[in-house]
């Protein structure tokens, strides 16, 4: 995987993880172009698109778009499942995750991502193990942040399709 972006329906970037070295300028350009392209797509269209020489795999969960860039020979469907597993992890960790959880605790979202994917490859696919690793590190933290339990968006991890 080359990079992963999370952005809202309004096009606001919520999380970005780059697994290939790119300059800030390129990153901004790619982000801008991709957000535009993906937001313009209709809900019934397929989750893949060819963009430059990459393949983009994206999926929308409630108000958030999760978007991954992979190489041509990679498997698109498994990438979709990577996104879904990440959402499941977030959901389990935050307990019914919503966009606000990710906005206000984005560093946690990064920690989870780093336990799940490392260097662009799936590191640990077992939900239990990822969360165990995170919780161990979290235990050192004084009090778990309890916030943003808003259920207004419904069950975030529920699939749209």
């Amino acid at each position: 995987m080359q990079f992963m972006l999370l952005f809202s329906r309004q096009g606001k970037l919520r999380l970005q993880k780059w697994y290939v070295p790119l300059s800030d300028k390129e990153k901004k350009k790619i982000t801008r172009e991709l957000v535009q392209t993906v937001l313009a797509r209709k809900p019934k269209m397929c989750s893949f698109l060819e963009w430059r020489d990459l393949k983009i795999v994206y999926k929308r969960y409630a108000s958030l778009y999760f978007c991954c860039a992979i190489e041509d020979q990679d498997n698109e469907l498994i990438t979709l499942e990577i996104i879904h597993r990440y959402v499941e992890l977030l959901d389990k960790y935050f307990g019914s995750v919503c966009e606000l959880d990710i906005i206000f605790n984005f560093e946690k979202a990064y920690f989870i991502l780093d336990e799940f994917l490392l260097g662009g490859e799936a590191q640990e696919t077992s939900k239990k193990n990822v969360l165990k690793a995170i919780e161990q590190a979290d235990l050192l933290q004084e009090v778990r942040v309890e916030c943003c339990r808003s259920k207004r968006f419904g069950n975030f991890a529920e699939r749209d399709s």
């Binding site: 893949f48 430059r52 108000s63 560093e107 490392l118 696919t125 004084e142 309890e146 808003s150």
Partner: protein, 1121 residues
């Protein structure tokens, strides 16, 4: 803003009230405050203002010494947020590293995260992280070790890998699986960025593959996938293990933790399938090992869930990649059917993708799904449409090309994405060239390509098109017909509004009109000139295109002096100097028809033009300039050398780029106006003419291409009136025509739409069913392409010389051998020709012939090469000191001057030594193979390769059996055609100590040009004549040796003579002339003059790079002296 967000915002204050009670919230409250204020803002401008304040507050905070680590952590989180919003917070980078270094575990975690987000590979600050990582890797706190490994696997400076590598390696045997897993991934990362550095731990990867924890094993597969992708042959032995793992996974032997939606370890399965397909590709026996497990996983993956489809897709791909098995192929094909027919669009997409892959093996599958494909062609989703076109591209043949190309062009016209356009337009051009049914269709399609492709079109599309037009086929009439079509079509285009046409198209058109408009007799040349001249006035035309247009005008100007002069007049005041220069040339040429004839011969054969790449016509200019005190030109490497000498430091990263402007130096030479325009054209259009190209007779391909063409406009063209353009694609192909007609008639009625599709299907898939499946694949089996490109002259020559270099027994070589041995029969006849006859010591017998041979040297000088047979002589005397080895040299070369014997390599059984012997026309490389053991070694075979040199060896350079403690000698003749400062050779010796047990011993060494330089014996007069005839020269001041009290010039020249084997022709006063040659090839003359305390050396040679090379070695020789 949407309702949802507004609602969210209204809930915010309440949230914060709750949150601020907790301690952790206080720490991040700065961030929350920031986020809240940003969401309240309504304009981008306000946001920028706020962020500016925020950033300066942060700046203050990080630089304050009172900021605690805890606060720093909070600042870092805010900095990450700011960067995510696109604001530069680079001032915090260094503090992120500090935080990782000094903070407690919690702060460290944020610090490391910030580092991995802020810094990319190669960022200089990363070096500061190395110590921290080292410390944490050795920590007893598991969490710290994990964090260090996590950051290492994401960003780490390449050069510092050796520092942490041992520690990371140790972690592979850590008791905790999470640490082992991360260590494996860190090594994977190292492998990706610096493969050489982890080469020694491949065995440990195997250990990771056998790890009892499935997670660690899965991680190691990333490395294996990469390794196997690079060299599948090295890992065939692991096939069994991979199959066994796959069987266990599919059989459900993994713990429930690894199940994902009731599917066992799908990521692991997919990784394994990929590895298996790489291993089984084109390898029947390996493939056979995996049939069973592939079948099993096809069968198991039945559940209707995305993840099973992901596995199925990978399975299908594997089945079609490995050695085919009918039964599996059938199942896989059914599987693809399920994908294609699925109502889920994602699956449909993958089905198309799989089909695209599979039609290469079995085109009938496309036929089965033709109706679905047709539906997908009109799909509203861009991605689906594009993939469908990709599929159609693969099944194109001469019968359906018109329909498919039309579909592709339709799609392109409505497509706004530049990448897609460039990609597909290239494919259209490829199809058109390969399958074009007739001339008018071809020209029309290419016009579409040029106008749709626009200015981002890849340069090789117009280049290939023009090359095709120019080179033509065997039949001149056909060629001219094609060219005529092009001329007619472009005239029509130009008569319309040409202002919006892309530059490439204009260039193509002007080149074609310039080159071929005379073929069209019914067109007035004046009209053509007027049309082209009109283009020059248009503002949208780029200056590069103007150069093309003017070049075209130059070609057709004959006899139209009045128009041309008028044009030249109006351009002579242009602001563009290149245009002014061309106008000037145009004026000269139009006044002098004889000159015109010789510069631009009409209808001259394509490859007959020659260009003086040595630019010798500029010699006069150069010597004038030099006389006037200009600095001599120095080639880049020489400048670099001087630079490094001066500074003593090697500033590699800032190495020079040299701006060579051909056009700027060519302006004033009156004698060669044609070449002037040639060279200006060259620099303007960046053709691939390489300056360094060896021979002085370069084929002027590049130049012709300079005047080029461009594309044409589609909508216009159909409306246009020119006869040849008017009957375009419709008339081309029976089925295409039918289909178009049909559609026109029936389109409005929905009831007939289905029939419509049937019709389309029949034209799209025509030729697929009846022919054998292979014939679809376009490439090799396609009907002979209509436009057959002639092999490019330089390509063919280089490739043929390439092969002859490689295959030492090619016919040309052997015929030369016979001539040579005929010529020098007396020399060679006593050589044991191919035999490996064991002469105990036959050296003295041949003594008498050596005198003759020395006498023959002058004769040999003239020949271009003598093949020396590497003959092997076995000697039963045990090998002693290496100096004694020269006694074993074959008699016929024994007296040649030679170098010391150098040991090359050795292993327990064999030791190899080499010796260079200098023959006038070649360098002989003698290899001594000593058997160090007491036992017989069998089947010793030597293979020597050197890319830069021509190596002449005998086939069967083999000793059947080498007695214990004996030595065999073989030798090679090496020829250097192109000077290289240093060349390296490599080779292997294979031998058998026991039957069936072949060992190989690799060896390598380097040779310098000096080994290939031979004295050139000439008289002073001959030297003078030769000097004038040579064109490439280099001047340089060298160190003058002043020791020993003798004449410094003499001392220096003698030193050079000894070091480089030069011939000192004459020394007159403070000047000396020296001559040498590259083996028996290109001479190089050196003129040396004492200039104060330096030696001014002027070198000339017919070979462009030889002087540089010799100069380099002179410098080295003097520096070492």
């Amino acid at each position: 803003m949407s309702d949802v967000v507004e609602k969210t915002l209204s809930a915010l204050p309440g949230l914060f009230d709750n949150v601020t009670q907790t301690g952790a919230a206080k720490i991040t409250s700065g961030l929350k405050q920031l986020i809240r204020s940003i969401t309240e803002l309504t304009s981008k401008h306000e946001e920028e203002k706020l962020m500016k304040q925020e950033l300066s507050a942060m700046k203050e905070q990080v630089s304050s010494p009172n900021t605690s680590m805890k606060q720093m952590r909070e600042v870092m989180v805010r900095a990450m947020y700011c960067e995510m919003l696109g604001y530069d917070a680079s001032f915090t980078y260094i503090h992120a590293i500090k935080l990782a270094q000094q903070g407690s575990v919690l702060e460290k975690r944020v610090g490391y995260l910030a580092v991995s987000l802020f810094l990319t590979e190669g960022h200089e600050l990363l070096l500061l992280l190395v110590n921290t990582v080292l410390k944490d890797l050795q920590s007893t706190n598991l969490i710290e070790v994990c964090m260090a490994l996590t950051v290492v696997a994401q960003v780490f400076p390449k050069d510092m890998i050796p520092a942490v590598l041992p520690l990371v390696e140790d972690k592979l045997s850590h008791p905790k699986e999470i640490i082992r897993r991360k260590a494996v991934l860190a090594l994977y990362k190292f492998y990706l960025i610096a493969p050489n550095q982890v080469q020694h731990i491949h065995a440990k990867f195997r250990k990771a593959l056998c790890d009892k924890d499935p997670g660690v094993m899965t991680s190691s597969l990333h490395i294996y996938l990469q390794l196997i992708r690079e060299s599948p042959d090295g890992y065939k032995d692991l096939t069994g293990s991979f199959v066994a793992i796959m069987k266990q996974v599919v059989g459900g032997k993994l713990p429930m933790d690894f199940y994902y939606h009731n599917v066992p370890a799908p990521w692991l399965q997919i990784q394994l399938l990929r590895i298996l397909s790489l291993l089984g590709r084109e390898d029947q026996s390996t493939s056979e090992q995996m049939y069973e497990v592939l079948d099993e996983s096809l069968r198991r993956a039945e559940m209707n869930h995305n993840i099973t489809y992901a596995i199925l897709y990978e399975c299908v791909k594997a089945i079609y990649t490995i050695h085919p098995k009918a039964e599996l192929l059938e199942k896989a094909a059914r599987c693809i059917g399920n994908f294609v027919l699925s109502p889920k669009i994602n699956l449909k997409y993958l089905g198309l993708k799989a089909l695209t892959y599979v039609v290469q093996h079995d085109a009938k599958l496309a036929l089965q799904h033709q109706m679905t494909i047709i539906e997908c062609l009109d799909h509203s989703d861009f991605t689906i449409k594009r993939e469908t076109l990709e599929l159609l591209f693969r099944i194109t043949n001469a019968q359906n090309v018109t329909v498919i190309v039309e579909k592709m062009l339709d799609f392109l016209r409505g497509c706004g994405d530049e990448h897609t356009v460039i990609h597909l337009v290239g494919k259209v051009a490829e199809l058109a060239e390969k399958f074009a049914p007739d001339n008018s269709w071809f020209i029309q399609t290419m016009s579409d390509v040029f106008s749709i492709g626009g200015d981002s079109l890849q340069q090789d599309v117009p280049n290939n098109f023009l090359r095709l037009l120019a080179e033509g086929s065997e039949c001149k009439e056909e060629d001219d017909e094609l060219r005529l079509f092009a001329v007619d079509s472009y005239l029509t285009v130009l008569k319309g509004d040409a202002s919006h046409l892309p530059q490439h198209f204009l260039q193509v058109m002007s080149w074609v009109l310039g080159e071929y408009s005379h073929l069209q007799e019914c067109v007035d040349q004046r009209e053509v000139i007027r049309l082209l001249a009109k283009l020059l006035d248009q503002r949208s035309v780029s200056s590069e295109t103007r150069v093309w247009i003017l070049s075209a005008l130059t070609k057709i100007s004959e006899g139209q002096t009045d128009l041309i002069l008028e044009l030249a007049e109006s351009l002579s005041s242009s602001q563009d100097t290149v245009l002014r220069q061309q106008a000037q040339e145009l004026r000269h040429l139009s006044r002098d028809s004889q000159l015109q004839e010789c510069v631009l011969p009409r209808g001259a054969p394509w490859d007959s033009m020659e260009v003086d790449s040595s630019l010798s016509f500029l010699d006069g200019f150069v010597s004038e300039a030099l006389a006037a005190g200009a600095a001599p030109y120095k080639p880049p490497h020489q400048r670099q050398e001087e630079l490094s000498e001066e500074r003593a430091l090697n500033l590699e990263p800032y190495s020079f780029s040299l701006p060579v402007s051909l056009s700027s130096c060519s302006i004033t030479d009156r004698q060669s106006p044609p070449l002037l325009s040639v060279s200006s054209g060259l620099s303007g259009n960046s053709t691939e003419l390489s300056q360094k190209e060896g021979s002085s007779t370069l084929i002027l391909e590049g130049v012709r291409r300079v005047w080029g063409k461009d594309g044409y406009l589609p909508q216009k063209e159909t409306a246009a009136t020119a006869p040849p353009v008017d009957e375009p694609s419709i008339a081309v192909h029976p089925s295409g025509q039918q289909e178009v007609a049909e559609r026109i008639e029936t389109q409005p009625e929905p009831s007939t739409r289905n029939q419509d599709k049937q019709q389309l299907a029949s034209s799209l898939f025509v030729g697929l069913g009846t022919q054998s499946s292979i014939s679809l694949l376009g490439k090799s089996e396609a009907p002979p392409p209509r436009f057959r490109k002639k092999p490019r002259p330089h390509e063919s020559s280089s490739s043929s010389s390439g092969t002859s270099e490689r295959s030492s027994d090619s016919s040309s070589r052997s015929s030369r051998t016979t001539t040579d041995s005929f010529l020098y029969g007396s020399l060679l006849e006593e050589e044991p020709v191919t035999s490996t006859s064991t002469t105990t010591n036959g050296l003295s017998q041949n003594k008498h012939t050596e005198g003759d041979r020395r006498a023959n040297t002058s004769q040999i000088l003239g020949s271009d090469m003598v093949i020396v047979r590497p003959n092997t002589i076995q000697d039963r005397h045990p090998p002693s000191a290496s100096s004694d080895l020269t006694a074993l040299l074959p008699s016929e070369i024994k007296d040649l001057p030679h170098s010391d014997v150098i040991s090359l390599t050795s292993d327990p059984s064999l030791s190899l030594a080499s010796c260079r012997m200098f023959r006038d026309e070649a360098l002989l490389l003698v290899i001594f193979i000593c058997n160090c053991t007491d036992t017989v070694i069998k089947d010793v075979a030597v293979q020597l390769t050197c890319e830069e040199l021509e190596t002449a060896s005998l086939r069967g350079n083999v000793v059947d059996c080498l007695e214990g403690k004996s030595t065999s000698v073989c030798h090679y003749a090496l020829l250097m055609d192109e000077p290289h400062t240093n060349v390296s050779f490599t080779g292997t010796v294979s031998y058998q100590t026991q039957p069936g047990h072949t060992n190989t011993l690799p060896f390598s060494g380097t040779l310098s040009t000096v080994d290939f330089i031979r004295p050139l014996v000439v008289t002073t007069e001959e030297y003078g004549k030769l000097w004038l005839s040579l064109s490439h020269d280099v001047k340089q001041n060298l160190k003058l040796l002043t020791d020993a009290g003798g004449d410094p010039l003499k001392t220096t020249l003698n030193a050079l003579k000894d070091a480089l084997q030069l011939h000192v022709v004459d020394i007159i006063g403070s000047e000396g002339i020296v001559a040498c040659r590259l083996l028996s090839g290109a001479p190089c003359l050196l003129h040396c003059r004492v200039n104060g305390s330096a030696l001014a050396m002027w070198l000339r040679s017919p070979h462009p790079s030889l002087p540089d090379c010799i100069l380099y070695h002179c410098q080295r020789a003097l520096a070492e002296h």
